[in-house]
């Protein structure tokens, strides 16, 4: 099956390049680039946690992502770096968000959770100025880390682009990334499709097709993969034809190594005759992870028992011809 192939080849690339996710000395440095250290490691962890949940224990992919999770946890010194980060940057939210990905895979550090709870109780933490989508992510990170969320999810949702059900033709890249993350947070990264309220599910089923089509046309492979993950996180699946078309186009964008470039610009830079592994880590790691994530969710969604999937309303539209 094509979707499974995308998942396998993407995880092949991740496995081959796992050392690039390792935390270097700059991970704790005051002038270190957290977007190049903690962020990729957290994303690796989250995707592996999700793939692990979506694949049965005997599956070779399950084994592979379990090994990657071990690798990632080792990078944090089995969680010891989290309290250390907290002592250095007590009011940063990203360590808790990265930690939450480990916690969802069952890799936990009770001491860190207890000390994080001291900070999340402050008014200052609650009033941190950030994008509404990020706010939702922090609330979910607290919940996943065993901490009482500092606010209310429906209220945070209402302030996001997606939560307001905007005109779908106002969709652009930034709105797209905001909405995919809202769905990831609402569904615990695809684990609980019922976390998507009914009106949002209807809205997404209506408008995912043109968003996917135009992102694929614009060769925005990274956002396309995130939208495919959203499609696989809904209580009811979109039309099969929409998904088949999108997966074919994503599969065709793969390099020989299994890497998927973030955007078409990387493909242009690679030239007409790219080698099997033509992209810089920074230009493909995220999209390749998202492809594996979306493919794992899609494969699991397709395998859900029919009675659950058919609970959907009929997808007919319009008056009979």
């Amino acid at each position: 099956m094509r979707v499974r192939e995308v998942e396998e080849s993407a995880l092949d690339w991740v496995w081959t390049h796992r050392d690039r996710f390792a935390l270097g000395d700059d991970a704790l440095a005051a002038d270190g680039q957290v977007n190049r250290t903690w962020k990729p490691l957290g994303e690796l962890t989250q995707v592996c946690a999700s793939v692990s949940r979506c694949t049965p224990p005997g599956d070779p992919l399950h084994t592979r992502v379990s090994e990657l999770l071990d690798f990632a946890w080792q990078q944090t010194h089995r969680g010891e770096l989290f309290p250390l980060m907290q002592s250095l940057e007590p009011f940063a939210t990203y360590p808790l968000e990265v930690y939450a990905a480990f916690a969802s895979a069952g890799l936990r550090h009770p001491g860190y959770e207890a000390s994080a709870a001291v900070l999340t109780r402050t008014r200052g933490w609650r009033l941190t100025e950030q994008y509404p989508t990020r706010r939702l992510g922090v609330l979910e990170a607290e919940r996943r880390s065993g901490i009482d969320p500092h606010g209310d999810v429906p209220q945070a949702l209402g302030r996001t682009w997606l939560g307001g059900l905007p005109e779908p033709w106002t969709f652009e890249r930034a709105a797209g990334y905001a909405l995919t993350h809202v769905v990831f947070h609402l569904t615990d990264w695809g684990r609980t499709p019922r976390g998507v309220p009914e009106d949002l599910a209807d809205y997404l089923l209506h408008w995912l097709p043109p968003w996917l089509d135009t992102c694929l046309d614009a060769r925005m492979w990274d956002l396309s993969c995130e939208l495919l993950a959203v499609a696989a996180s809904l209580p009811r699946p979109p039309e099969p034809a929409v998904l088949e078309d999108a997966w074919q186009r994503v599969a065709a964008a793969r390099a020989g190594s299994g890497a998927i470039p973030e955007e078409g610009a990387a493909q242009d830079a690679a030239g007409a005759d790219p080698g099997p592994d033509p992209y810089d880590f920074a230009d493909c790691y995220h999209s390749t992870l998202m492809a594996a994530f979306a493919a794992a969710l899609a494969t699991a969604a397709a395998a859900r028992p029919p009675d659950v999937r058919q609970a959907a309303r009929p997808a007919g539209q319009g008056a009979p011809g």
Partner: protein, 62 residues
Amino acid sequence: MPSKDKVLEEVTRTENIDIDAVLDPAEPDGVFRDSRECAALALQSGGTSLLLSPPTPRPKKG
């Protein structure tokens, strides 16, 4: 009303124009560009504390 001959002549002339192509146009390529966001005015510059940093020392004259 133009004579039949004249109509025919003009039809022949406008045959040069590929009307069918105009009536059955292919879809133009999509044009994609996202709106950008500039950092808010008077916001600290990229975390480098530009507004707060002391002026660069200049070499003293003579």
